[in-house]
Symmetry: C3
Subunit: 215 residues, 3 copies
């Protein structure tokens, strides 16, 4: 029934470009985060933190636009709930990336405290968002089962890798850091980085499930 | 099809009043929490903590009633899943508020350790639950798009404000608190307060999405 | 309509046995965890940790099989989204149990640091997974409202009990532990144990909601 209808009525194409804007924004934010954890200039860091915050607000308004469009659309390219959920989880990813950068500033984490594991995790977040952007682009034509599956598998494997890095970093932290307050700061920084990759996996799960339902 | 049916069959109205009971209960619990963080009397605190715990149990049984009614109802005013989800998230909010009050007692946080930020966050939780109650009341007539939207926007803005207060409080905590165990306690207290506002935002998201699907 | 169809077309029975494999695997992992927190042999611990990790990988591939089967199945015994969600949350439970065992190793928590509360929480996780397995077995015939309800109620009550144990353990920890780094480790261990029971409750919620929708 709904298949017949959707055959005759042009679908709301706007969602695709809005989601692509959201996922591309995540790639941009992630690039800034990688820059931020690599720079040793305090000035540059603050500038990057502000840029990340700005892009997080850009993400907020994209999310808002998607949800607004949803309330105005009679026909949607896939389930209303899935559009809602995907918008929310992409927003979450931006929140966690922003959370990493704001914690670096709020906790006054020195450039010299940035470990190779922090840099690695930031790079894995960037790779996750790049794969996520590929997956989001496939939403326009859900018959691309292969491409979505590949991105899905890669995001899962990046997330597993991030888990391993996280475990190792935490092990090292508890072995070496004797200052409990510094330990708390770094532990939370690692956890926020790792949660960003978890949320990327959640987003991949939603896209996969949209594809499964609409294949 | 389901629209035609629902035109002739009277809807299960019971859910509306049960949800209103749940959201009103949240307003009551939040008021007690604000009182609790403002009092300097140890006796009064314990009394308030017990009252909060009692209302949390009241909330549990409202949740139980909603889920029970759901299993007995053939026709529901909106999607079964949404009723389920909304019941669960309202329950979560009560859990986190109760979590704040129980941590104050379990961690033996002195009245003198209660910062202006703790009080502010408790007040923001109260404002969130008041707005949530307004949104829940609109479920009876989902054509009130304006009112739901207004509550939705306000809850989001309160939650953003809570995020800022949280960040500032955490910054100050790491700057000033030299006792790591006290720092851990306060950090967790702030995080629990802030999560309560997050959950209120999740509840607003669900209500918004119910309205979107049923508009 | 879908009822008529489902009357004539044999349902995908594979899901039932895959879910039963997943929930039985959780019972097995939980048993290993109970053994692990009870042994005082460092060797035995490492062996058990590896076994838990192996079973967690087994769980991963069961999850993968379920999601794969989902993408291949035209007819499913209940909503595609519910199959997806249940698979994911069962996977989460395995992750948290594995998280407990890996933290014990990574944080170098000595057998002498394992408190009676850690053992109790591990035992409650085992009881949760046993009940969950009973609930999962009922998915084959959702008219067993009683049995699902009973398991649901018991899991909720076990989870409440775990909450109380958790609160007590945290209270004692803050009262007695003066080494902040050790306190952080134990606090996180308790929290991971407790989250495993939360996730079991989430799984019970999903099964309950499947039953409600399909009764």
């Amino acid at each position: 029934m709904s298949n017949l209808l959707s055959f005759f009525i042009p679908k709301e194409k706007k969602f695709f470009s809005m989601f692509e804007k959201a996922s591309l924004n995540l790639v941009d934010i992630s690039k800034l985060l990688v820059e931020m954890v690599k720079t040793s200039s305090i000035e540059e860091r603050k500038r990057l933190r502000n840029e990340i915050e700005n892009l997080e607000h850009v993400g907020d308004s994209i999310t808002h636009d998607i949800l607004n469009q949803l309330s105005l659309s009679f026909i949607t390219p896939f389930d209303r709930e899935d559009i809602h959920q995907l918008a929310v989880v992409l927003d979450d990813i931006a929140d966690y990336i922003n959370g990493v950068s704001s914690r670096i500033i709020i906790y006054k984490i020195e450039p010299s405290d940035i470990t190779p594991e922090v840099v690695k995790l930031a790079e894995l977040i960037l790779r996750c968002t790049e794969e996520l952007h590929i997956a989001v682009e496939q939403l326009r034509d859900l018959r691309n089962v292969e491409k979505i599956n590949e991105a899905y598998v890669r995001i899962n494997s990046i997330e597993n890798h991030a888990d391993d890095i996280f475990d190792m970093a935490i092990g090292k932290l508890f072995d070496e850091e004797k200052d409990p307050i510094k330990l708390i700061k770094m532990k939370e920084l690692y956890a926020t980085l790792e949660t960003a990759t978890d949320k990327a996996e959640d987003a991949a799960d939603i896209i996969k499930s949209i594809q499964v339902k609409n294949a």
